[in-house]
Amino acid sequence: DQQVKQNSPSLSVQEGRISILNCDYTNSMFDYFLWYKKYPAEGPTFLISISSIKDKNEDGRFTVFLNKSAKHLSLHIVPSQPGDSAVYFCAAFLISNFGNEKLTFGTGTRLTIIP
């Protein structure tokens, strides 16, 4: 049961244009969503997050949008740069009182920026 889904395995975008990566989830109880970026032979690195009480969070060129009614979030990268070429993972968790929150990851989208 894949609770966090990234339906596009790959995406190619021209340098300077906007990259939009999408993520859908099935568990309406998720409280917090994160995006991680992964280069080959490296571990994932945290990029940006959003709480379920917000619908937008922005950090420089990166903006995450959350649509709770559609159970959908997206990551916008503007403008796209060659260094943005990587695999992007969407992840989510439920906040609990027990301190045992666990991340659920999507399968990732490989973004390629074309110079």
């Binding site: 571990g43 994932p44 045992n100 990732g108």
Partner: protein, 112 residues
């Protein structure tokens, strides 16, 4: 600024062999995690720890064991390697469970 360090980076094992994947972090994080990533899949949680002496199973714990004797170290043990355990293994840590996790660079393990 080492962060999370995993060793080895690569390893080939024969079926039935055992090995320990090492993970250490220098950020004084209480929470540590082991994930595996199979081709075309997301990361799946194997085991996690909320502090020294406390561990718990994740989504895919079968065939693995962990221990947490210190805050810094969280080794993952494979007792009887099987081809299904061929994967890339990532260790991660976080200050609290609702904080972003910091990942090591992974161990690529092949079981032949």
């Amino acid at each position: 600024n080492a962060g999370v360090t995993q060793t080895p980076k690569f390893r080939i094992l024969k079926i039935g062999q055992s090995m320990t994947l090492q993970c250490t972090q220098d950020m004084n994080h209480n929470y540590m995690y082991w994930y595996r990533q199979d081709p075309g899949m997301g990361l799946k949680l194997i085991y996690y720890s909320v502090g020294a002496g406390i561990t718990d199973k994740g989504e895919v714990p079968n065939g693995y064991n962990v221990s947490r004797s210190t805050t810094e170290d969280f080794p993952l043990r494979l007792e009887l390697a099987a081809p299904s355990q061929t994967s890339v293994y990532f260790c991660a840590s976080s200050l609290r469970t609702n904080q972003p996790q910091h990942f090591g660079d992974g161990t690529r393990l092949s079981i032949l």
